[in-house]
């Protein structure tokens, strides 16, 4: 079993990315994929949207899985493993989660050790300056610890602005693996799928 964490700030496009990649992953690999969504509240919006697209989703509500719900996350993965035996478990935490904390939580997973844990952090390039200004420390931490940075919504800004955002990300982690995408308009999504499938 592999774990794919799709993290990113509120409104960065996590759900859109999951919707645009899962079907292709299944088509290409024929792997069994399970999705865990951590929403706010007892009725999750993101999980409802995914279910309307025909995906089966396990919900974790009422908190953030990188901290107070860590145990619930591990239990949910174990239940999925026992009942469904997925090849890939996709975890979409809230927009507040620290993906590195989820990676650490997985060290306590009581089931079979995952073959791989891959963490993506999605950056909304349109709002990056304002989000970074308000939350520079946690955002920098996300960037430094992610395996792959997805600069999302690239079709909504100029190439100059995009270059500026990329330079800012590089200034935080000059070796970051970055893919520029538009999850909504299917730009470079195949590159993301390649990265998931081939790495």
């Amino acid at each position: 079993m592999e774990i794919l964490i799709v993290a990113g700030f509120l409104g960065s496009g996590k759900t859109t990315l999951v919707l645009s990649t899962i079907e292709r992953i299944v088509e290409r690999t024929d792997k069994k994929v399970a999705i865990i969504v951590n929403d706010f509240g007892t009725i999750g919006i993101d999980s409802k949207v995914m279910e309307k697209f025909g995906l089966k989703v396990s919900e974790l509500d009422g908190g953030c899985i990188c901290c107070s719900l860590g145990t619930d996350l591990l239990s949910t993965i174990q239940i999925l493993e026992e009942n469904m035996n997925p090849d890939i478990v996709v975890i979409e935490p809230t927009g507040l989660a620290d993906p590195d904390a989820i990676v650490h939580a997985m060290k306590h997973y009581p089931g079979n050790t995952p073959q791989r844990i891959l963490s993506f952090v999605i950056i909304d390039v349109v709002r990056f300056p304002s989000v970074f200004k308000a939350l520079s420390r946690p955002l920098s931490s996300q960037i430094r610890t992610a395996d792959v940075i997805l600069m999302n919504k690239i079709d909504a800004i100029s190439s100059e602005m995009l270059a500026s955002v990329e330079a800012d990300i590089r200034s935080i982690d000059d070796s970051a693996s970055i893919i520029a995408v538009s999850a909504l308009n299917d730009i470079n999504i195949d590159k993301v799928v390649d990265r998931i499938v081939n790495s």
């Binding site: 509120l10 706010f40 509240g41 409802k48 927009g95 308000a134 909504l184």
Partner: protein, 136 residues
């Protein structure tokens, strides 16, 4: 990414209008609702709009979201039929205001846009949450 001024206000809004609501009208109302929540929160001092979003849960679905106060909303899903019952889940997540301020704005705008010719019932879906609970 929690600071002490982060607020997540999560509710459902339920109403049954006396007549069918057209798909265009409900789409327009939800879009306006999301945009106005963002604008009003911004106007009274929100330092950062995180994500303000809703989903209309019916046989089909409609999701609307905004990430700033610019007046731009993203709409996903497409209703093909008019609806006779409205059940909407709304999340307002932002920085710089108190829970009470956000609740006041959201509740007032929900009543304004989703009452139709009757009343709308608002239910908080996560009363236990607090900034400390979500602190990462």
């Amino acid at each position: 990414m929690i600071t002490s001024d982060f607020v997540a206000y999560v509710i459902s809004a339920t109403t049954t209008p006396s007549s069918l609501v057209s798909k265009n009208e409900i789409t327009e109302r939800l879009t306006t609702l999301m945009i106005e929540i963002a604008r009003e929160c911004d106007a009274i001092g929100a330092t950062l709009i995180g994500h303000i979003k809703c989903v209309l849960d019916a046989n089909e679905y409609l999701a609307v979201s905004v990430t700033d106060a610019s007046g731009h909303a993203s709409v996903r899903g497409d209703l093909t039929n008019d609806i006779d019952h409205v059940f909407v889940v709304i999340n307002a997540m932002l920085y710089g205001l108190t829970y009470e301020q956000v609740k006041s704005i959201v509740d007032e705008l929900v009543i304004k846009h989703l009452s139709f010719d009757t009343t709308v019932r608002i239910e908080e879906l996560d009363k236990k949450q607090s900034p400390i609970h979500f602190h990462c």
